[in-house]
Amino acid sequence: MSLRPGAINFKEKWKCLEETVQSILSLDTIPRDVWHASFNHIYFLCGSFPEPYYEKLYKSTKLLLETHVSELLKFIQTEGTENLLQNYCTSWQKYSKAIKVLNNLYKHLNKIIYLQYEKMLESVEVSDEPNMMMVGELSLNLWNKIIITPLINSMSKLLLDEFDKPRYNLPITTPLDTIAVILKSFVEIMENNETNPLKIYHCHFEQLFLMQSGEYFELESTKLSKELTVSEYMAKVLVIMKEEEIRAKKYLHESTYNKLQSTFLKKVVVDHLNFLHGESEAMIREERHKDLHNNYLLLCGVKDGLVLLGKFFRELIKQNGIKVLESFKKNQIYEHFFEDILKLHTKYKSIVTEVFNNDYHFSEILDTEFKIIVNYKFEENQPSKAPEYLSKYCDKLLKKSYKGLSETEIEHKLLQSITIFKYINDKDIFQNIFQAHLAKRLILQQSQSIVIEEGMIKNLKQSCGYEYTNKLHCMFTDIRVSEELNTQFQKEFLKATKDKSNLSFSVNILQTGAWPLTLPTKSFFVPEQLLTCSKNFEVFYKEKFVGRKLTWLHHQSQGELKLNYLPKMYIVTLQMFQMSILLLFEKCDTLKYSEINEILQLSDGHFQKQINSLIDCKLLSLDGDNVKLNMDFSNKRTKLCITSAVLRDIPQEIKQSINSVEINREAYLQATIIRIMKMRKTLVHSKLMVEIISQTKSFLPSKGFINTSIKILIDKGYLELTSNLPVEYSYIA
């Protein structure tokens, strides 16, 4: 035998082939040889010479299939309507498996048919004969024509009935799996139809199903809304929704579920919108969270359903926020202010997460309202006090003197303060004030724990970025480095010089740029006891770091003096200037006021403040022009601290920081504008505004502010107005 096309007896070949096809259709097992041989049969039939038999083959196969399917139809219809669906299902399952195998077998014929089809597409003439389809398609088509078309109406009615039964708690006669298979068959029949593959499924099942479901929902919802209260209604309706969802997803085609859901929502929710909204406000006020949750679930699928709920929620936050602000106006205790705001915030945040499923709409409402509350301006024309109060609050938490809370609790409170920090508009004011407080804490060693401080700075970095906390990090590094330097200095120098000075001396080296401290303008007379030490240190430092300049900040330094001239020994912590005044009395008991002034070379006002502080605490006594050491000084405590009297100048610091912030802001804004314009070359005014606001994270520039900056830049010659309308700017390189 060879593969050459040759004359073939059709009848013979067809007899063998027919047997094979029959056994395939009845899903019998076929011996291997027979299976392989049938491939040969088909090949030879198609390629036979002189007359190709493929058309005949096709027709005979078609006939065979037709007879088979008609028999199946008779079988399905035999036992009446009860078993109609079941029989259909079993027959279909067998048939679909068989035609897959058949399609494989007829591969060669299919190839020829496909070529014919392509030829037909190219040619212009129309043939009378119906086109030949590939065998798989043919079989599906035959099934559709012979079985589905006559039976479809009765079947769809049965299917709809079956599907409806569970809704009324009636027992179902046909298991829903069978129904699922049947529905799938409707879809699979049309899978070769490119235009509308779901045609049968749609027309004969889905539309009717949706209509029926709609009626059911309408009846149920009207009934329930009359009998039950809103909360009970919502609960029951949600249960029904869940059931329908499970059933639809399991048994129906995937495209149906969405349509079912929208019908459901329309009948159950939209038609009863007033009913549902009636109690929404009460629910929010009385904090009935479960009901509110149900309400949300039902309304979230409906367009604009949540608008009303959102409105009520916003009102609620606003009212409670105003309450907090009022109480603060009365008390002016900023700690309570923050704790109250925090409590409010946590409460509403939990409502948004739990009740509203973290819906974007509601968390947005929460954020906007809280922004308003936090940035509330207690006085007109002044920036809001929030950054100042927040930094004071943090300062208190971070100081050693804050007793009563464990470290973890303090960390927790600081973390919470970050949530409020995110709402503050003037973040740069906060940065300045916080930096000033931090400087004081670090210099005077008042912080409770470095770990907590660093944690706080890390949190700030996470919310605002690296630049914001850059300087703060520098400050910490400075302190750490200074500690190391001090130990080195102690070891090296004091050993080397064998200086029996009864002083202990430590220095903090601070970088000029990172610390918000001003350099002293006048030189100061250092008392002799400290002179050697400070000179030694300068030498030591210059050896270590060549080329760096050191400037002493005496107004920040402090020291401890042991008073030995009194019956009881006292240890007094003093600021530098106060200490130098007292040290002058080491050799003598009385000095003239003017003398002291001359020696110290301080400015007058300053000097007065220092001396008065000493006089007030009775260490010195003023007698006309003479200043005398008070030998009758006594105090209950042995350890005293007199620095506080001189260091209370925070309000000025704050005013200063606010002013400097304003200047910074101008510069920052101008730099941002130039940067944007350089990139974009030309930009419309409104778009420029949008860009600027998105790029300035540490404060919220007002429109007037931006406009003035733009004007300044135009004057300076960086931008120019183009003649286009609307207002457009272009960058001048």
Binding site: M1, S2, L3, R4, I24, L27, D28, T29, I30, R32, D33, W35, H36, F39, N40, Y43, G47, V101, N104, L105, K107, H108, K111
Partner: protein, 120 residues
């Protein structure tokens, strides 16, 4: 030798799989004159006809050999078919220049008919 080229080594372990069972790595193609060609299953499946034949009704039993007896294809043709399977598999994902698959003119016609039948 040609069989070795077509089948190749499995895992470099020196052990070959067999042709039995539905997941066997090799299949056996038998020509009209009884010559048995054992090739890798994935190579043989390049032919549409062989693929349809092997996915026939029912699975191959575990100890049943996956073999197809081609009563119309002589061995000198089937040999070239197997060579072609290996050639195609090797150069399918190759970006380099692909050498020509040489066909002796004497067998060209028969090879053409076999290719038509096997759809590859």
């Amino acid at each position: 030798m040609i069989v070795d080229e077509a089948s190749g080594k499995e895992d470099g372990s020196g052990e070959y799989g067999n042709c039995n069972g539905p997941l066997s790595p090799y299949v056996k193609l038998i020509s009209s004159d009884g010559h048995e060609f054992i090739v890798k299953r994935e190579h043989a499946l390049m032919s549409g006809t062989i693929r349809a034949m092997l996915s026939g009704p029912g699975q191959f039993a575990e100890n049943e050999t996956n073999q197809i007896h081609f009563r119309e294809i002589p061995s000198h043709v089937l040999l070239n078919v197997c060579k072609y399977f290996a050639y195609k598999a090797y150069y399918s994902n190759c970006a380099n220049e692909i050498p020509e698959f040489s066909i002796k003119p004497q067998i060209a016609l028969e090879l053409l008919m076999a290719a038509n039948f096997l759809d590859c």
